[in-house]
């Protein structure tokens, strides 16, 4: 029993260290946002005959070496592409246009292609839609836990019910911040997935404790009957 406690203590300490380290990294460096959420430059190229996306991607990667590049088709006709990167300088833009002109025998003028600066999406704007559903579900789940597992102890159920999912989420975001994992579209998806898994694990844990308590009660009753 003592051994388990020590193990738990070590686990709690590790969790706390991860969360504190994550908070420090977030405060100092912020998250490493993926290109669709970070400050980026965009240029749009078009012609009449259409582009081969993979070829344009190669050209863009070549001219924007070392930078993250995203390429997307614009409209439905396949003759316009939007190239996005963390930064596109005038020289890089000229180089891309020159190579595209050579590849497709075009005469796209550099002055006709503007570099659009897109600002980053704020973390609070990304998280905002998830906060209210998170709070509502947590409140209902806590109520369910309190009704079903009140025998375990109201304080214990409440503390675990609130802290466990929050701790899991904080550890997840801390790991993302510490290891500079890009914060992108999949991050929020994984976050709500983890939340669901966390409450399911918690329910399983409570169910197990509840069954153990029931067994103990049954044993005691049997002992009383027998003697």
């Amino acid at each position: 029993m003592k051994k388990i406690d020590t193990k738990s203590k070590i686990l709690y300490v590790i969790i706390c260290i991860i969360i504190i380290a994550g908070a420090i990294v977030y405060k100092v460096k912020g998250f490493n946002f993926d290109i669709q959420y970070s400050v980026r430059n965009q240029i749009i190229l078009s012609n009449n005959t259409g582009f081969d996306i993979s070829k344009i991607k190669d050209i863009a990667r070549d001219c924007l070496s070392g930078k993250q590049v995203t390429l997307r088709e614009v409209e439905l006709f396949g003759n316009t592409v939007a190239i996005e990167s963390s930064e596109i300088t005038e020289e890089e833009k000229d180089a891309i246009i020159q190579k595209v002109n050579e590849e497709y025998n075009l005469s796209i003028a550099s002055e006709n292609v503007k570099i659009l600066k897109v600002e980053h999406t704020r973390i609070r704007d990304i998280l905002k839609p998830y906060i209210l559903p998170g709070i509502i579900t947590l409140a209902i789940i806590l109520l369910y836990f309190l009704i079903r597992y009140h025998k375990i102890g109201v304080g214990k159920v409440l503390a675990n019910g609130i802290l466990f999912p929050i701790a899991i989420e904080l550890v997840f975001y801390s790991i993302i911040a510490i290891f500079r994992v890009p914060f992108g579209r999949i991050t929020m998806a994984l976050s709500i997935g983890l939340y669901l898994i966390a409450v399911t694990i918690l329910a399983a844990k409570f169910e197990k404790i509840s069954e153990e308590l029931k067994d103990i009660e049954n044993k005691k009753e049997n002992e009383k009957i027998t003697g």
Binding site: E73, L196, V199
Partner: protein, 498 residues
């Protein structure tokens, strides 16, 4: 024994057929080519594409009509239109230099967010440049996208002011408590109203002006039955066509209103005696009127068009009225913006990306199936087949319940598959030779599983009702998944293992 084997083989064959239908499809010959008749997945904006719009602070100047009234700015009127209509281009900028500040940019951003939500945009991505005020928006592409884009930038400056003296403004957006679109059905048909409810200050101001200065004079009343607080106007909200609406009169409703531009010379004699107010949104004068009776409750009902029984007309009027209400509720933009980029952009997540995700998923499944087979031998094979059948059925269910698949949805599918695998293992672990004990054990495991997934079901149900598409798709996917896990294992897996 032989009969049981045949039944088992039949069940496995049925599962394999479902797998074929779900993973491969049903191909039928249609106009010389084979088409899959199994419903396709509905993809979200992240997996399909979206409308990308850039809003920039307008640098346009005011455009006046021949009478000197401001009708818009140079962003909406080109030189040719200005010349042909005898309009005048002024040097007055629509956005004053002192208004170009961060607070106003932030206010505009917050109002646009409110409007997007009000207009039913369930998933958007918005970023603001605090230096230039430029706003970059991504919204899902659907039938309403153009309606949203054309309305979201309307300034929506609501005013009740003197019809002669523009500087006498009595009621503005800050006096509005709530605007809503309501309708009333009578024997003549349905009339849609824009109901504007004023706050305490607005109510008091309206009561004051309707009792004193702008009360209908007896002489005016004898020549024209003046209105009270029910006013009839035409409903148009298309921001692309910013124009003055014509005002209709409706004798049945005992109301009358006049468009400023259409005021007849006949009424000029009354105007000298009768003071009137103008109810305007931006440059659009919705109604010019006086008050037959004081408005004490602070509620103004503007009937948008006449009564009709045409359901299409009712629904379009209701939509445009709702849009006006949403614009008024969100507040007026402190700055005028213009659209500088508006295009549909396909997602950067390609089919090959999705295929790779599917391959990784298949790889993980293969590992899980190997584990289950090694652990439970023959029963493990049955468990693996049952799991495969579940995935096939689940993917069909997701398609036929019109669930939109997003990245969150894919995560939800993965979690559901894991939940099903977990329950299968629990059921495979039951190793009671006695059928009665086995049944009891099964019921116990099942009840325990349901207790464990109730929190997940709560999340699924609540998330399904959230308007934000990404959250809703996760909720929908999880809801159908959990329901199917419970039913499928009861009907299929249990029988197969038995």
């Amino acid at each position: 024994m032989k009969e049981r084997k045949i039944t088992l083989i039949m069940k496995i064959l049925a599962i394999l057929v479902i797998c074929l239908v779900s993973f491969v499809g049903i191909y039928v010959c249609k106009t010389n080519r084979y088409e899959n008749i199994v419903k396709d997945y509905k993809l979200s904006k992240d997996l399909k594409g979206y409308r990308e719009i850039v809003f920039e602070v307008s640098d346009g100047t005011l455009v006046l009509d021949s009478e000197g009234n401001a009708i818009g700015n140079t962003d909406s009127y080109d030189d040719e239109t200005i010349q042909t209509n005898n309009y005048t281009k002024t040097d007055t900028k629509v956005n004053k230099e002192e208004n170009l500040k961060v607070e106003n940019y932030k206010t505009v951003k917050s109002i646009i967010e409110k409007r997007l939500e009000g207009l039913g945009v369930t998933d958007y991505n918005l970023s603001l440049s605090e230096e230039t005020g430029k706003i970059y928006v991504q919204i899902p592409e659907n039938d309403d996208t153009d309606h949203v884009v054309s309305n979201v930038l309307q300034v929506a400056n609501f005013q009740i002011r003197d019809s002669e003296d523009n500087s006498k403004v009595y009621i503005t957006n800050s006096d509005i408590k709530k605007a809503s679109a309501v309708y009333n059905t009578s024997t003549n048909g349905t009339t849609v109203y824009l109901q504007i409810e004023l706050n305490k200050k607005g109510t008091s101001t309206l009561k004051d002006i309707s009792t004193n200065e702008y009360k209908t004079l007896p002489e005016a009343d004898s020549t024209s039955q003046e209105n009270i607080n029910e006013i009839n106007v035409e409903a148009t909200t298309d921001g692309e066509n910013e124009k003055s609406n014509e005002t209709n009169t409706s004798a049945e409703e005992n109301t009358q209103s006049k468009e400023n531009s259409e005021e007849t010379e006949e009424s000029t004699s009354h105007k000298e005696k009768q003071k009137e107010i103008v109810l305007a949104i931006d440059t659009n004068k919705m109604v010019t009127t006086s008050f037959e009776e004081p408005i004490e409750d602070g509620v103004i009902d503007l009937s948008m068009g006449s009564s009709t029984t045409d359901s299409d007309k009712i629904s379009s009027t209701l939509q445009s009225t709702s849009t006006i209400a949403i614009l008024l509720n969100s507040g007026s933009l402190p700055l005028t913006y213009k659209i500088t980029q508006n295009q549909y952009v396909k997602t950067d997540i390609t089919e090959s990306n999705l295929r790779n995700v599917a391959y990784v998923g298949l790889g993980c499944l293969a590992i899980l199936f190997i584990i289950i087979i090694i652990k439970f031998k023959g029963k493990g094979i049955i468990g693996a087949i049952s799991n495969l059948g579940f995935i096939a059925l689940y993917l069909l269910l997701v398609r036929y319940t019109n669930v939109v698949i997003s990245i969150e949805g894919i995560v939800g599918i993965a979690i559901t598959v894991i939940l099903n695998y977990w329950l299968t293992i629990k059921l495979l672990k039951i190793n009671e030779p006695d059928s009665e004990l086995k049944r009891k054990e099964f019921t116990k495991e099942y009840k325990s599983f349901i207790s464990k997934v109730i929190p997940a079901l709560v999340i699924a149900i609540v998330f399904s009702f959230i308007a934000w598409e990404k959250i809703a798709t996760f909720g929908n996917v999880m809801f159908w998944g959990i329901v199917l896990v419970i039913i499928y294992n009861l009907i299929v897996t249990k029988k197969l293992i038995d």
